[in-house]
């Protein structure tokens, strides 16, 4: 999936998140948290300021990813909001965290 596809998926997800709130039978809906499909589950962790469509992993990992995001992206003085993230350190740490999680999952 290239960058354009990622953008398309992200915008689609954002709209569906909003629509799911509109269709709620009760008040106080905060959007889709978990989408279960045949071959994968999609978790969505919503921070107070920004909506982050999640990866295909568990909630603990998502919190770690969010921490990395705050450390490398938001604290980066050269980062402009809403632009694609192009930070090597962020990518390296992200892959490391995912690998660790995969190893931990296999080890259980």
């Amino acid at each position: 999936m290239d960058t354009n596809d990622s953008l398309r998926v992200a915008s689609l997800w954002h709209s569906m998140h909003a629509i799911s709130q509109q269709l709620s039978p009760t008040t106080g809906c905060s959007g889709i948290e978990l989408l279960e499909a045949d071959t994968f589950d999609l978790h969505c962790f919503q921070s107070l300021t920004v909506c982050e469509p999640g990866t295909q992993h568990m909630e603990a990992l998502l919190k770690v990813v969010y921490e990395l995001y705050t450390d490398y992206v938001l604290k980066n003085p050269f980062y402009e909001m809403e632009m694609p993230i192009r930070c090597e350190l962020f990518d390296i740490n992200l892959t490391q965290a995912v690998q660790k999680d995969r190893v931990a999952l296999l080890g259980r």
């Binding site: 596809d5 689609l12 709209s15 569906m16 509109q22 009760t26 106080g28 809906c29 279960e36």
Partner: protein
């Protein structure tokens, strides 16, 4: 891939997972063209839109979610672009999503009939429940010689059967 074993109603429906009472909020049944064949609600305090808009929005949401699931599937080779209509059963399809206030369970039959059940968020997997409701549909609607496919369902027996079964979930 989906498959349906047996064409008659199974003698024992899936056992109830939580306490009895109103677990389900509403049910929608759509055909492949987006016509809402059935909409029943049992517990819906909040109505955001008028019924036509509500049905259209629901159908559109499901179409997009299916497309998204097929695109994001990590196990298949790269599929076509987003928005390309998928045949029923082709590609990976989602079967439910959960928010903090409701859980929506979805099932599509090979003939393109979509069953949507909106329940409270703590219910467990409802795929067997939807299959049972599909069997009810086959018995009361598909086998009804007076029913025209593509039109809303107006069968009291079917409505009663669905109500009764859903209350026991």
């Amino acid at each position: 891939m989906q498959f349906f074993g047996g064409s008659e109603i199974s003698p024992s429906p899936p056992t109830p997972t939580t306490t009895t009472g109103n677990n389900a909020h509403m049910i929608y049944i759509f055909n492949r063209n987006g016509v809402c064949l059935l909409y029943r609600e049992w517990n819906r305090p909040l109505h955001t839109l008028n019924p036509q808009q509500d049905h259209k929005l629901m159908f559109g949401l499901l179409f997009s979610l299916k497309s998204l699931a097929a695109k994001m599937d990590p196990t298949s080779a790269d599929k076509g672009n987003l928005g390309v209509p998928q045949l029923p059963g082709q590609g990976c399809s989602f079967h439910s999503f959960r928010t903090n206030s409701y859980k929506l369970s979805f099932m599509e039959t090979p003939s393109g009939i979509k069953f949507i059940l909106v329940t409270n968020p703590r219910t467990s997997d409802l795929r067997e429940t939807l299959k049972y409701i599909y069997n009810l549909y086959v018995e009361y609607v598909a086998k009804n010689p007076l029913y025209t496919p593509g039109t809303p369902i107006r069968c009291e027996l079917f409505n009663t059967a669905v109500d009764q079964y859903v209350r026991s979930i």
